[in-house]
């Protein structure tokens, strides 16, 4: 997939509206800095460019004990931080302990719950993660408290990036502004609110990578303006994508449409139905709602930039049930079901939505569909933080349209769509399980699936997950509405395999592997 002979050199300009919050891998957790951090830092594990296939990154080897509990990593030789120091096993241990240290307040700490000693350490007790042992300079041994098939993916998360202790300590809280990692690029300049510049890291551990000499992120540009810049040849990638308002315009212009790469995304947009609030505590009502939503029309409203969904998992995720039909759009039947459930005249409820286009529009489409079966949903159009707060209360938001805050997978594994958003663990005050759906049996099956760590069991594990999600749909705590598609618009100056431009883990593109046609 990756053109190893692609020339190196050249540069590109990526535009963004929002300022980069931080480049600290333990802190950064929005889709904008996620990929940037990926290019500045490396962890033990990574992905094949353009795919969801795990590969070794800084690690030279990864051995798993038979019971799946002990993972032994050896580091590659001669790998260096941007500051020139060689990376050792100690750095791996330090990095994992840093991200799980409560003082760090990392939003990713919870991912490492399977590592032995996490509970104590994360509660502020003990001396580090007891499960992480440094065997020698190059070897680190990580012991888990339960077998976990997702562990490889977890070690590929940004949060598991290896950071140099001395640089972290020198910068303190400002490490996010002065990041030092071992990624393909190093930070060259950061002018707040204006630009961030990455430069090729000459000592990168993969030869011939990255392709570009320099990436400039121009900050603070409204997407509409970014598009103007693109059209004037002053930018190579609008980082925020093609603005919805200009989408059709771009796509209807063959010359521009030519430069747009379309791909899937590990994303699902859904409506949560609070299963603990009347009347959504009645499964029949939830199913009726599922049948009432005209997903095709919603997709049309957003100019076809998504595909209708019928289950939680997106089509590109392993475990997606191809032949599952879901709840077909059938308002008549929905109405009947409501009547059978004791709501012949429907009922009134509220639909919470984040106030950024196109979400209020989608909410209005949903509202119209609901009113067709007699449900009168009042829209509560609020700022993101307020919607999240309302969802975290057991009795506040009967329905939430998840768009804008919706789930994009952290890593390409079906389990990632379960725990916080559908499992009992998330159905707590302040949790992300806004449907307040808690099915203990499914939780148990999920734990079981994740303990199938043997590569031979991979197939069976995926099947198990597939069934879990189908069973979830039976209970209908959500109305999956659509899976967003990605449309990456690039300039003529950039080249590379299409998959690099819709890389599932790098948004908007895989910075390390795309190359410049102007390079030689």
């Amino acid at each position: 997939q990756v053109d190893q002979d692609a020339p190196t050199g050249g540069s590109m300009i990526v535009t963004y509206k929002d300022d980069v919050a931080t480049l600290d891998p333990a802190i950064g957790y929005d889709w904008q800095n996620w990929s940037m951090i990926k290019s500045l830092f490396d962890g033990l594990m990574g992905y094949e460019p353009g795919t969801t296939t795990l590969r070794l990154e800084l690690a030279d080897s990864h051995d798993i004990s038979d019971d799946g509990l002990v993972h032994t990593f050896t580091l590659k030789d001669g790998i260096k931080f941007h500051n020139g120091r060689e990376i050792t096993a100690e750095d791996v241990k330090y990095s994992l302990e840093r991200v799980t240290n409560p003082e760090t307040r990392s939003p990713g700490a919870g991912f490492f719950g399977m590592i032995e000693g996490f509970e104590d350490w994360n509660a502020g007790e003990g001396e580090g993660l007891s499960g992480v042992k440094v065997i020698d300079d190059k070897t680190v041994e990580i012991t888990l408290n339960r077998p976990d098939a997702t562990f490889g993916h977890v070690m590929a998360l940004n949060f598991a990036s290896v950071v140099p202790q001395e640089a972290v300590e020198a910068s303190g809280e400002d490490f996010g502004r002065e990041p030092v990692g071992s990624g393909a690029y190093k930070l060259a300049d950061w002018t707040p609110g204006q630009q961030v510049v990455f430069e090729r890291f000459e000592d990168y551990h993969r030869a011939g990578v990255p392709k570009l000499d320099q990436i400039t992120f121009e900050i603070g540009l409204e997407p509409t303006v970014a598009l103007l810049r693109m059209q004037q040849g002053q930018a190579d990638i609008p980082g925020d994508g093609i603005p919805p308002a200009q989408f059709l315009q771009v796509m209807n212009d063959p010359e521009q449409a030519d430069n747009v790469v379309e791909g899937g995304q590990l994303h699902t947009g859904y409506i949560t139905l609070n299963t603990q609030m009347e009347p959504f505590d009645d499964k029949a009502v939830r199913q009726a709602v599922n049948m009432a939503i005209n997903k095709d029309r919603i997709v049309r409203i957003i100019n076809g930039r998504a595909v209708p969904a019928n289950q939680p998992l997106p089509p590109t995720m392993p475990g997606y049930a191809e032949d599952y039909e879901g709840y077909a759009f059938d308002p008549e039947k929905a109405k009947q079901m409501l009547a059978d459930a004791g709501y012949p005249d429907g009922f009134s409820t509220e639909l919470y939505v984040m106030n950024v286009d196109p979400n209020p529009r989608i909410a209005q489409a949903i509202q119209q569909d609901l009113s067709a079966i007699g449900i009168d949903a009042e829209i509560r159009n609020l700022a993101q933080a307020n919607v999240i707060a309302a969802g975290g209360e057991p009795d506040q938001a009967p329905m939430i349209w998840s768009g804008g805050m919706a789930w994009i997978a952290d890593f390409p594994d079906p389990s990632n769509f379960y725990g916080p958003i559908l499992g009992c663990g998330g159905a707590v005050q302040g949790g992300w399980n806004w449907a307040w759906y808690c099915n203990e049996e499914l939780d148990a099956r999920a734990a079981e699936a994740d303990s199938m760590t043997d590569p031979d069991q991979a197939e069976a594990r995926i099947d198990a997950w597939r069934q879990i999600y189908l069973d979830v749909m039976e209970d209908a705590p959500w109305v999956p509405v659509f899976n967003e598609q990605r449309f990456t618009y690039t300039s003529d100056r950039l080249a590379g395999d299409d998959s690099l431009f819709v890389d599932p883990v790098h948004i908007p593109v895989n910075y390390d592997y795309v190359y410049s046609t102007e390079a030689q």
Binding site: T224, N355, Q368, L382
Partner: protein
């Protein structure tokens, strides 16, 4: 030259005076135009259900192209459709309600409050003035958007709350301008005369200061219409105001402003409605000021 007929003025009595002023307004073409526009909008607001060509909430299937683009004006939808395929004309007519309430009522409260505070502070000066003006400064620096967010989360969003928030935010500007003008008017001799007559404060403020402040009040009052109608949209966006799908001119603009290059009618028509409303009030206000300012009589 148009002239107020003398007998009508010669008889005093409030009602007659108002009638005379109204008659004079109607005699001025521009003011009459303004009055008519206001009347039409008021009628549109009251009789909206009978005037709308379509259901303003119906996301009509043929209101969007297959690719999901809204339809331009013409044909079945006289002013085109919005991004959900709803009839823009109907939504504008229904939106008149919210916008009139905000632009006239909320803005009116703000004007009255602002003028009141400004006059009081400017006329009395001293510590009353200082306290009022510092309070005004405080309100001006007040993080109103934050307040809006809190209110949105605590209360059910409603037009009343928006109106209150807007009145709270907008009176400040008025107060400051009126304050400075009052300060310099209060030094004038004809105001001293009032004191020497023993006129009560209310009389001095109402009968003598106010007419001299009228032009500023007209300016602020009419410009305030635009700003409040637009502010309502911001507040709706933050969840305080009317919630979708209820239309208001402001939120139609706000929702669609990024589409103005691809679907300009979505911004143009509601924008034109706001300008028209503000302009209408301004025409009437200007004429009123002319009529009430005798030194300008005969000019128009």
């Amino acid at each position: 030259m148009s002239v107020i007929d003398p007998p009508a003025v010669a008889r005093r009595g409030r009602a007659r005076k108002v009638a005379a002023v109204l008659g004079e307004l109607m005699r001025r073409p521009r003011a009459a135009f303004g009055l008519i526009v206001i009347a039409i909008m008021a009628i549109a607001a009251v009789f909206a259900p009978w005037l709308m060509p379509h259901d303003p909430f119906e996301q009509s299937f043929d209101g969007l192209t297959l690719a999901g683009a809204p339809l331009p004006p013409g044909g079945e939808f006289p002013l085109g459709t919005d991004l959900l395929g709803r009839d823009l004309a109907s939504r504008l007519i229904l939106g008149t309600r919210t916008s009139l309430i905000i632009g006239v009522l909320a803005n009116g409260i703000a004007v009255i409050l602002g003028a009141g505070v400004g006059i009081t502070a400017g006329y009395f000066g001293g510590w009353i003035g200082a306290i009022l003006m510092r309070f005004t400064d405080l309100m001006m620096a007040f993080p109103a958007l934050l307040l809006a967010i809190v209110l949105a989360a605590i209360f059910q969003p409603s037009l009343l709350i928006v109106a209150l928030v807007i009145a709270m935010v907008n009176w400040v500007q008025m107060a400051r301008v009126i304050y400075t003008e009052t300060r310099s008017l209060a030094e004038r001799e004809f105001i001293q005369v009032q004191r020497s007559i023993g006129s009560g404060t209310l009389r001095v403020l109402g009968s003598h200061l106010l007419p001299h402040l009228l032009s500023s009040i007209v300016v602020f009052g009419t410009l305030g219409i635009s700003t409040t109608v637009l502010l309502e949209a911001t507040l709706s966006y933050l969840g305080v105001g009317v919630q979708p799908p209820t239309p208001s001119w402001g939120n139609i603009i706000f929702e669609n402003q990024t589409y103005f290059s691809t679907a300009p009618w979505l911004v143009f028509f509601p924008g034109a409605a706001i300008v028209l409303l503000a302009l209408a009030f301004n025409l009437v206000g200007d004429a009123l000021r002319d009529i009430l300012d005798p030194t300008l009589k005969g000019r128009h």
